[in-house]
Symmetry: C3
């Protein structure tokens, strides 16, 4: 079955068992490699392939806010892995199918009131998504069509290029401190790489969510365009990136990004343990409780 092709051990481990994504295999099974349109995707990740262009659009659909739950992360990883292993595709565009929100980031319900083993499994999946996107051999363009805080911002920052819709509500940033939590060092590293040390230092401490004009000025996104042109702009930018020979571009991307990824790779387990220890603290669980109650009241 197409879904299982090329899955690496880690992704398999994250699924454990497959049944966790029961409806994941919505698409037609592929008859083989290179035979035209393939239907990828899963309940939460719509993949619209354009084999002629070598491009696939990955639409995140985990309503209401594309929270990066363990299941959703797992589906994203599977989709990414399939696209990476399919020679048809040279680039992907990541965008949202949920109106007004790109992704709200990590799912607090995966860390609130959960046992350490679950938190560890979850954090491993978060790490994996970052490493997969940040080091992807594919060109990855973010078509950011909604607000993009915290983990949603990290996902954006891990793309090769970011196009943000010019809607003042669509702020982007690592706003962890506002929730009383801390961005991990690799979130910080990626932000420093993108907007520089000083801007990152200030933005991280103050939990800045940059509206489009500020986002462009500080460099946390590369381009701001009218909302109805986000997808078409992402496609044009993609064409520019695909004009470069894959091999040279991939090696160059690796040259630039590997040292940052290596900092996590060299201490993945310690980073997981740190996360579990931190999130298990009473004070942090309490902060999460307060925040989740506020969210409930907002909805109610």
């Amino acid at each position: 079955m197409a879904l299982t092709v090329g899955l690496r051990p880690l992704t398999r481990a994250l699924l454990r068992p497959w049944a966790r994504v029961p409806g994941a295999a919505l698409g037609r099974p592929a008859a083989g490699s290179g035979d035209g349109v393939r239907c990828f995707g899963s309940p939460r990740v719509l993949v619209e392939p354009d084999p002629a262009a070598g491009v696939a659009v990955m639409k995140m659909r985990n309503p209401p806010v594309n929270s990066l739950s363990l299941e959703f992360l797992t589906e994203l990883l599977i989709s990414l892995e399939k696209l990476e292993n399919d020679k048809t595709f040279r680039g992907i565009i990541i965008t949202s199918d949920c109106p007004g929100i790109f992704s709200a980031g990590l799912d607090l319900l995966e860390m609130y009131g959960r046992d350490p083993a679950h938190c560890a499994e979850y954090w491993k999946a978060v790490q994996e998504l970052w490493l997969r996107v940040y080091l992807s051999n594919l060109v990855v363009i973010g078509a950011i069509n909604g607000i993009s805080p915290a983990g949603g911002c990290l996902l954006s920052l891990s793309c090769d290029y970011r196009v943000l819709a010019n809607n003042p509500k669509y702020a982007i940033g690592l706003n962890e401190t506002l929730l009383g939590i801390i961005a991990p060092f690799w979130f910080k590293d990626v932000l420093v790489n993108t907007i520089g040390h000083r801007a990152a230092e200030r933005a991280l401490q103050l939990g800045f969510l940059f509206p489009p004009s500020d986002a462009l000025q500080v460099g946390i996104v590369d381009q701001v365009v009218p909302e109805d042109q986000v997808q078409s702009t992402a496609r044009s930018v993609m064409a520019q990136w695909l004009a470069i020979p894959d091999h040279a571009r991939q090696l160059t991307k690796n040259l630039v990004r590997k040292p940052t990824a290596d900092r996590l790779l060299q201490q993945r387990d310690a980073d997981i343990q740190n996360f579990v220890r931190f999130i298990s603290r009473d004070s942090i669980q309490k902060s999460l409780h307060v925040y989740l109650e506020k969210l409930k009241q907002k909805k109610g």
Copy 2:
């Protein structure tokens, strides 16, 4: 006595003996922690506490130019330590009580014609001030109301945010090369962190002192305001920083700044020895002599 509460060994070592700051305990002794207004301060460091806001203003008064002499450094360290150890305070504003000058930086008289032991003690205090300000758990805002060269610039760069008075005479920068001396690696690291590698490389070699408009453009300060609004702006900015939960902000600040501080912490003694060796050279002592003579003639 309030002054001795919570002093860490290093600061004690720097004082050795206490008598060095004979008039340091000007304030009323505090009756205990959290019991309202405390009077800190020393002859050279005026502390104006605003307990309601959780903010203290530290005014440097070491006329004529707030040279960072060993005594003055020691008083600054004591005041910082006291404020850090007093739960009343969450932020401090560092500013000058000397008209037209924030701080002229290191006191050349502490390195000219002095024996190695004195130079070593002095350098340790310089390191300590930087580490204390740069890693402070308090929010530290610089209200830069005067020229701020060399060590004065370092002090500014170590704050969390810099507000500079818009007076063309109030230049700021690491201008050590103009004196024939070299900024230590950690001065360089902090400048690179703040304005980027290329701008720092050029500014350090040419000993740039940036007037306000250039300072803002290159990013060595965060904001330039009319001279009579420096203090009020610093207070508004402080409110913005204090809106963030302390714990999350402090851990995030540490996440961003610790690696830079660690570079010095891992080689503090070697750095002291380097300084002593460098400053003891005949050629450097001669440069200092020439410069100090020039200063005398200016005054004369």
Copy 3:
């Protein structure tokens, strides 16, 4: 003979034998150090000394495009070494004597169809040129009067200051990916140092050649001036740099640049082997073949 004065072992090794630069000693042999005008230079490197100012202009003349062939690199290294060892000179201006081109960069003919030993010798010379220019005790100003791709850009980036002629044809950048090859890590490091991580990441992958206005904006050059003012501007800038005491400026330059140079110095041989292995691949030789054929057709 003037030419042999002060040559370090490596440069000698690169020459092996001297006969490689048969006409190198065009100038009058110097009668001694400090005795007025000296005539340096070689067939491909014109040196115009201005002893009164302490400045020499080095004009690259390896027509048609100042390709950095092994012979040309060797002559550049000899000229640099002579100027560095002559107390008369405190600064050099590097510029081109070939109309419209600063330098086309590395000479592909030194890596296409060559045996590994030759490729290794060539790469060692490329490394040496970079280290020599990047860490030079002299002030090095680039008067970039023509297009400056790939290795030509690296040479520019290794200067202390870059003045680019305002001609839309005179683009500058590390465009290796366009040729299907990869910039080495130290090219990348120097670009990151100059324009920041994010801009470098994008420029390197897309092989950007920045026209003057973009070059100035991204910071890959420091100044853009009308074409007929490039040399005079370089001279004015030089005066500014020479106003700084040499000793302090040199130590500060070293402080800022040594860590970057050390990354190569710590693995020079491995870097040579990497290059030889990479360039010897069939796929890369094929890419070079295609590119060289295109160049031939253009000329034909």
